[in-house]
């Protein structure tokens, strides 16, 4: 009887041990994952407040400060306000802030739902970065059916000359991907890393 009881206890102990091994990663990996998750989460929380990601200046006549959370358009010294862009940016800001917070919560906890929070928090910023970069590439390479009279660079200073009969127009163009964009790229990559580590 005693033998049977000790066998049963041994079996339960082994089962629990197996489950513990399955759920818990080695200590070093967990700490690395925790730190990466925390850094990615904190960066994600900061990014909406870092300012614009890309700047385009066509002379001083057209200035676009592309920030997915609060784009700024200035035409001939007057600021354009487009409610659709403002509210889309505002919603994206909320989504990114939420994803940053959930990424942190998911990283510091080890419950069954933690992995889902990490998955949620790690991808939202990445999608926004990818969508922004694809839009910029489309603007740079040209969109079929939407021919622009001038070439829009991605990250350089150039001069376009447009000639019409006896009129010559010299347009200085300045385009720059800002530090905020590269920080967003870095945070997205960290997020992706955390996501794959959390699988």
């Amino acid at each position: 009887m005693k033998n049977a009881e000790s066998d049963f206890k041994k079996e339960i102990f082994e089962k629990e041990g197996k489950n513990q091994n399955k759920n818990q990663k080695p200590r070093t990996e967990s700490i690395a994952g925790l730190i990466t998750g925390l850094v990615a989460g904190v960066l994600t929380l900061i990014i909406p407040f870092l300012g614009h990601w890309w700047e385009l200046r066509i002379g001083e006549a057209f200035i676009l400060k592309l920030d997915p959370f609060n784009p700024e358009i200035v035409i001939f010294g007057k600021e354009a306000f487009i409610p659709l862009l403002y509210w889309t940016g505002f919603s994206l800001k909320l989504i990114v802030l939420l994803s940053g917070a959930l990424l942190i919560i998911g990283s510091i906890t080890s419950r069954w739902w933690s992995v889902h929070l990490v998955k949620f928090g790690s991808t939202k910023l990445c999608w926004i970065v990818v969508a922004t970069f694809v839009s910029l590439l489309a603007l740079n390479l040209g969109i079929p059916g939407l021919e622009l009279p001038i070439e829009i660079p991605l990250n350089e200073i150039s001069t376009e000359i447009v000639r019409m009969e006896n009129v010559k127009i010299t347009i200085p163009i300045y385009a720059r991907l800002t530090e905020a964009f590269w920080i967003a790229v870095f945070a997205s990559l960290l997020g992706i890393y955390v996501r794959f580590k959390s699988k």
Binding site: I75, L85, F90, S91, L94, W113, V167
Partner: protein, 153 residues
């Protein structure tokens, strides 16, 4: 709460925030046009109202003192933004076929809708009456918000 419910909630949440945010913004807007275009139509209307007429630019007078010529042009800016006139060069010819040039003294900044006078100076080969002097070609360089527009003709 089950795992599936959590997954579903997390999947729905961003879409819900996006739809509610845009929906709230739309409810605050006057109409769909204002929501989609904002103040762009008003801004573009300002530019579409730029009109050039005979009163926009013209010769005010010519004064010849010895070999020196001073011409004055009036310019009534039709632009709702400042314009910098960087260069005005006018080529002229005397009755005897000698060529001369008139140049703008210095850059002129003209404020929105401002009336201003541009003074051009030059030298003739010798003193001549005004009737013996004819203005021919002109080159004007204007800077508008960093964009340089050069017109020749």
């Amino acid at each position: 709460m089950g795992e599936t419910t959590l997954k579903l909630m997390l999947w729905t949440l961003p879409w819900l925030i996006l739809v509610l945010g845009i929906g709230y913004g739309f409810s605050q807007s006057e109409d769909i046009e204002h929501f989609l275009l904002g103040n762009m139509p008003v801004m573009l209307k300002d530019f579409s109202e730029i009109k050039f007429s005979e009163k926009t630019f013209g010769l005010k007078g010519v004064e010849i003192t010895g070999k020196s010529v001073v011409t004055e042009f009036y310019f009534a800016s039709p632009f709702p933004f400042p314009v910098k006139i960087k260069e005005v060069l006018i080529k002229g010819e005397t009755k005897s076929g000698d060529e001369f040039e008139l140049k703008l003294e210095k850059e002129v900044l003209i404020r929105p809708y401002e009336n201003s006078t541009l003074t051009l100076r030059g030298n003739l080969p010798r003193h001549l009456p005004e009737s013996d002097v004819k203005l021919k070609d002109a080159r004007v360089s204007v800077e508008i918000f960093g964009i340089l527009v050069e017109v020749e003709g």
